[in-house]
């Protein structure tokens, strides 16, 4: 997970971080990129094709719209999407997520990964015997032990100086009972205290333990130093100029397929609108802006020798209901709002400007681009304003001469039924959503006041303190559904399900979630997660709007660039990138 994508996109993230490794299993097997016949095929994703032959050498520049907060993506304060992209080809990952969103083990890192026992759940990782860090230290069980301890949330494990670790997530790691090494540290056995279905999300990426122990997990990676130069992947960071650029070069000690490019430059261009001219001037070769609008799309689409691909991302916009509001506490009123919201129209007229196929989203746990996705919305999939009005009437409201319903109960008795909606100020897509929603609610007799805040105010105060009626933002997800539990589990207090800002509670959802989390069989787990979503629709816990499209653009003189909508990002196969052979 990367909350940073969140930060830059003003969204929150859902699931545990799965980092891309560096190359696909298939590539490792065939010994390097090359012709279309021996490379990996990225199927199931628009714009992905077979690999092409590329030259060795050359430099590619990738525009990032945010600078790095640090160099440890596992740290809560440095856990950014942009850092994830930078580290894709640097830190090793047991599993990588290719564009088809199916986690695949990276054979360069582990020779095999096996679930050897279901009770207690036991995973055995056999580390590639050749795997070593760029400073010569072998990648070993010590790295697994340290990565577990640092992210376990267990206070008995301490960072340098005896301070508690500050991990971005403890999900899954907090269910591990032991991590032990054998076979000279090249075999790792992980035993869980209770089953964890999304175990493939773990140890991806791996922070170099011997370095992190020395510099400190929390504070040792804040600045660019010798620690940040240590690599366990095909590239290594050569230089970093704050606010300007970061340069990666091939790691000479890498044991797997060598990268084709001689230099990979990440250029920080914080204002997205300045990226198209830089592309046109040949200064940038890849773009992937945060919240792309029609202007960006048009500006890049018209550039010769530049391919643009818009794809639905693993993130979605939604509206949440604060159930501490006496009216929104009633499911019937939430149902009425859902029926009165024309989600297809909102999708079409906001983010749909760059993706004409965009429609309403009918699942919170899985996105339509994931194989597990099912439409669980039931009778909420259709826009039905007349049913919305009838439902409001049945809920104890009377239509007034002013065109608004007036509650016959509660603190607003006799007044027009008014709710506020909040989101991050200054984000065009969000403003469009709010205005359309406001207009649609007026049609069913609900008055909406728009009250927006800066991202830090919204996510730091308004949301956590529940100072809203309705709140609109996006969730960024990964293929691992377990991360959703903390959003929808029954609110008790700020430390137990405190991320459930809506104070939604349903014991049936809790029970089903717990069952899904401990189900190791992925198909059975997906069925359970879909059932969870069915209950969330029935309760109308939140109202999903649409899957947020992502825009990827790249210069066609480079080959093997395949968009990846997961939190891994587009550099998931940077090893294969190169200048096409003419």
């Amino acid at each position: 997970m990367c909350s940073a994508r969140c930060d830059r996109r003003s969204v929150r993230t859902v699931a545990a971080l799965v980092v891309a490794g560096t190359v696909l299993l298939a590539l490792a097997a065939c010994g390097g990129g090359g012709s279309s016949s021996n490379g990996p095929t990225t199927t199931g994703v628009k714009g992905a094709t077979k690999t092409v032959a590329v030259k060795s050498g050359g430099s590619l520049t990738f525009a990032l719209d945010e600078d790095l907060a640090g160099f440890n993506v596992l740290n809560a304060s440095e856990n950014e999407f942009v850092l994830q992209e930078v580290l894709d080809p640097v830190w090793p990952s047991v599993f990588i997520t290719p564009p088809n969103l199916k986690p695949t083990p990276d054979k360069n890192v582990v020779s095999s990964v096996k679930l050897t026992k279901k009770n207690p759940q036991t995973i055995v990782y056999k580390i590639n015997p050749k795997a070593k860090w760029s400073d010569g230290v072998p990648i070993s069980a010590d790295d697994f032990v340290y990565n577990w301890q640092a992210q376990s949330g267990n206070p008995k494990y301490k960072d340098k100086g005896g301070k508690p670790f500050e991990p971005a997530t403890t999900s899954g790691y907090n269910q591990i009972k032991s991590v032990t090494g054998s076979n000279g540290g090249k075999t790792v056995t992980v035993v869980f205290s209770k089953p964890f279905g999304d175990w493939k999300a773990l140890f991806s990426p791996l922070i170099p333990a011997h370095v992190s122990k020395q510099v400190g997990f929390n504070e040792g990676w804040a600045s660019f130093n010798s620690a940040a130069k240590v690599s366990g992947g095909p590239f290594m960071i050569q230089s970093y100029k704050q606010g300007s650029d970061l340069i990666e070069v091939p790691n000479p000690h890498y044991w797997g397929p060598k990268p084709k490019l001689s230099k990979l430059v990440y250029r920080f261009i914080l204002d997205d609108s300045q990226q198209p001219p830089a592309v046109q001037n040949g200064e940038v070769n890849i773009v992937n802006p945060a919240l792309p609008g029609l202007d960006f799309y048009n500006a890049t689409k018209s550039i010769g020798g530049f391919q643009v691909s818009v794809q639905p991302g693993l993130e979605f916009q939604h509206i949440d209901f604060n159930e501490t509001n006496p009216y929104l506490a009633k499911p019937a009123i939430r149902h009425a709002i859902a029926w009165g919201t024309n989600r297809d129209e909102i999708a079409k007229r906001s983010a749909g400007e760059i993706d004409h196929s965009l429609t309403a989203l009918n699942n919170r746990i899985y996105m339509p681009t994931q194989p597990e996705y099912k439409d669980m919305s039931g009778n909420f999939s259709k826009f039905n304003p007349s049913l919305a009005k009838k439902t409001l009437q049945k809920s104890g409201m009377t239509m007034g001469s002013d065109g608004y319903f007036h509650p016959n109960f509660g603190p607003e008795k006799g007044k027009p039924f008014t709710l506020s909606i909040s989101t991050t100020a200054g984000v065009p897509v969000r403003s469009q959503i709010e205005q359309l929603f406001q207009s649609e609610m007026k049609d069913i007799g609900v008055k909406i006041n728009i009250q927006n805040y800066t991202a830090d105010k919204l996510f730091g105060t308004i949301g956590p303190k529940g100072e809203f009626d309705l709140i609109e933002f996006a969730w960024v997800s990964t293929p691992f559904a377990s991360g959703n539990q903390s959003i929808y589990c029954s609110f008790q207090n700020t430390t137990v399900c405190g991320s459930n800002w809506d104070h939604y509670a349903d014991p049936k959802v809790d029970s089903l979630f717990n069952k899904a989390l401990t189900t190791i069989n992925p198909t059975q787990a997906a069925t359970l997660y879909n059932k969870v979503d069915g209950l969330l629709w029935k309760d109308m816990a939140t109202l999903p709007l649409f899957q947020q499209p992502q825009l990827f653009g790249w210069s066609t003189k480079f080959g093997n660039i395949f968009p990846n909508t997961s939190s891994t990002g587009i550099p998931w196969n940077a090893t294969q990138w190169g200048v096409k052979k003419s």
Partner: protein, 328 residues
Amino acid sequence: MTAFVLRRAAAGIVILFVASFLTYVLVAESGDPLATLKANPHTTQATIDAARARLGLDHSLLERYWLWLSHFVQGDFGQSTQGRKVEPQLWQRLGVTMKMVLPATIIAAVIAIALGILGAVRQYKPDDHVSTTLAYIFYATPVFVLGILLKDFVAIKINNAAGHTALYTVGDSTPGFTGSFGARMLDDVQHAVLPVLTLVLVSYAAWSRYQRASLLDVLNSDYVRFARAKGVPRRRVLIKHALRNALIPVTTVIALDFATIIGGAVITEIVYGWEGMGQFLLGGLTGPLTPDVNTVQAWLVITAAIVVLFNLLADITYAALDPRIRYG
């Protein structure tokens, strides 16, 4: 003069102290640096508490200000909320900004004074009308529009015509560029042309109007008419008697603008992707883990000190330009 400088420096320190306190309080109260962590449903309360302690947010506001001040007087600007030392960043950013602002100010001042003189001497002649119109156009054009126009219609066109990248649109240098000193200088110039040109166009436009108006005032004054009546040649009257006086107002404006642009060329920096002082401030207010009080304080101290310094320099320049002015 020495007493005057010391008095002004002492006043500057007091102003700086008051400004630092007010800025600290306003910035610290403007948001929550832990908002990003709180927004992440996977960040545990223990992690948030540890981050709060690490950032010193469990102290009262006054305690935090005192801590900052006690470090600052020892020359320590502290760490950003991201755990990086502020001081190296500050000097790096200042260096980047100076690469843009210094040449822009010198070029704009020369052009502004020249065109101001031309406009005043040839008042209401066709060349004055052309100069006035251009000045108003550049003055009224927002920097970001100017930036886009220069990129699209100057840089890209020139590069296409040249068949290689002669002018860059992003950044202050090519990442990882290595070469001789001359080659690096050339690379810097190729990156600086557009942002410098932008600042020149915006700055000269206003300054040339000041210069023109100021010189017109002087040229219409009694002592100039008297000099002309006595038969002093026009050129000598203009350069020796009128221009020196007419430079005083524009000197003040240029000195103050120079100091302001150092800290405030945010839009130019954003448009051209230059990580200078403006973006340093912006990053301290809107980046991850913000507001970042130490970063904003560092920006404030430097820009405020530069404003005070250039005010002082402007005062000293008056004395050089006008011998009647004496500071005691």
